[in-house]
């Protein structure tokens, strides 16, 4: 039984007739940045949703430090609260930036004084302290995504899940967010799983990279090996740009 913070064993998931995941196996080590890359529609978002316990696999197990959590149980809520997911295309609430970042803390019943401190720290971390009172909808796409990141970061999650979260953003915000992740991981030692279709981003951030193709992890390797000496033919094809994605 693996005691890794996150472990996938034989994950299968279909939606109707379409089988999206056909046996995912992986182990994410504590404190690493684990990147999942692959063509669109390969099932990356589905995998992430399963990891965040928003959905359950048809077969296989997901374990956290060796424990698995059936999706509707109160323990699964508790485990979900030890993780945080940031999605692609900012989904901010119709409220101020402050209230957005405070959301997760509110849900957990964090007392007011501590809440304020952590929210302001979070806003500061992404460089949006002056925007605290602004309605989140009025912020730019990049700023909203930074709010979304801060919203997840203030929760001090054990596992941070990021789903293409810099997609469609301008280079300034992309860089800012990438630096935030690196800083965050450095300061807190949390485990990060980042789904991206941007290979350059994976190269910049990941410790290990996994290629998701046809519902399976075709190759899982440390970043340098993955990019410089890919072991599998499919990986080489993918990296060379032969595969359209």
């Amino acid at each position: 039984m693996s005691a890794a913070p996150l472990s996938l064993q034989g994950i299968h998931k279909s939606f109707g007739a379409k089988q999206v995941l056909r046996g995912l196996d992986a182990e994410v080590q504590a404190g690493e940045i684990f990147s999942i890359v692959g063509p669109s529609g390969a099932g990356k978002t589905t995998a992430l949703r399963l990891l965040d316990l928003l959905d359950s696999p048809d077969a296989g197990r997901i374990t956290f430090h060796g424990k698995s959590y059936p999706i509707r149980s109160p323990e699964s809520l508790a485990q979900r609260r030890r993780m945080a997911l940031v999605m692609q295309n900012p989904t901010v609430f119709r409220a101020t930036a402050f209230e957005n970042v405070a959301y997760g803390l509110w849900l957990r019943g964090v007392p007011d004084a501590e809440l304020r401190g952590r929210v302001f720290a979070g806003l500061d971390f992404v460089g949006l302290l002056e925007a605290a009172k602004d309605p989140a909808e009025k912020l730019s796409g990049g700023e909203q995504q930074r709010i979304a990141f801060a919203r997840a970061a203030v929760l001090n999650p054990e596992i941070l899940l990021l789903d293409e979260f810099t997609a469609n953003l301008d280079p300034f915000n992309v860089r800012l967010l990438e630096q935030s992740i690196l800083r965050y991981r450095h300061e807190t030692g949390c485990t990060v799983v980042i789904v991206t279709h941007n290979l350059f981003q994976a190269k910049r951030l990941a410790d290990r990279v996994a290629l998701l193709l046809d519902g399976q992890f075709v190759e899982v390797a440390p970043a340098t090996d993955f990019f410089d000496h890919p072991a599998r033919a499919e990986t080489r094809a993918f990296l060379s740009g032969e595969m359209a994605y």
């Binding site: 809520l77 997911l85 999605m87 295309n89 989904t91 609430f93 959301y103 957990r108």
Partner: protein, 216 residues
Amino acid sequence: MTDFSEILQIVGLSILVSGTSTLIGSVVGVPLGVLVALRKFRGRNFVRTVAFTFYGFPPVLAGLLVFLILSRGGPLGFLGFLFTPIGMILAQSVIVMPIVMGITISAMMMVEKRLHDTSLALGANERQWRTTALHDARVGVFTAVMVGFGRAISEVGTVLIVGGNIRGQTRVLTTAIVLEISQAHYVEATIFGIILFVIAFAVFAFLQRLQAKGVV
């Protein structure tokens, strides 16, 4: 025929009856609307269709049904609410509630599905999610309340049948207008109509200012 104090009394009763019934209709309709929109249960689509159908439920018919219920011969006759303001309030609440509920359901259904995932991903349970969704849809829900009030203050059939248009007791602006028209006092009827319009305008202007200020 009607002096100033009588006009004041009619105006006051109109606001009281319609305001209270909007309040009651919203207190019941909004939570119900949230539940129907967000919670999966058997027969949910049926309930939704019924709620939307009641939008078009003719107030006169509601008035007739409430009359039959509150009449002495009816099941709740012992309360003695027929031909009283409380009877009118209850009858109008019956009309307002489906409207508020229906528009709330529409507003809640427009809340982005992905907000649900986001909310859960940040650690919400279903009950917390419902409050979150309601908060996000609050503009639409507020509209629901306003539409409900608009319906209440302008309807005449229910309050006429259940209230009886009794002078000094159950006469409101709309029933006063009907009375004046039936007696061919068109000037008086128009004046009441203008007063009604001014009140509705003032209420909506006030509510809109609240909305603009972000209170809602």
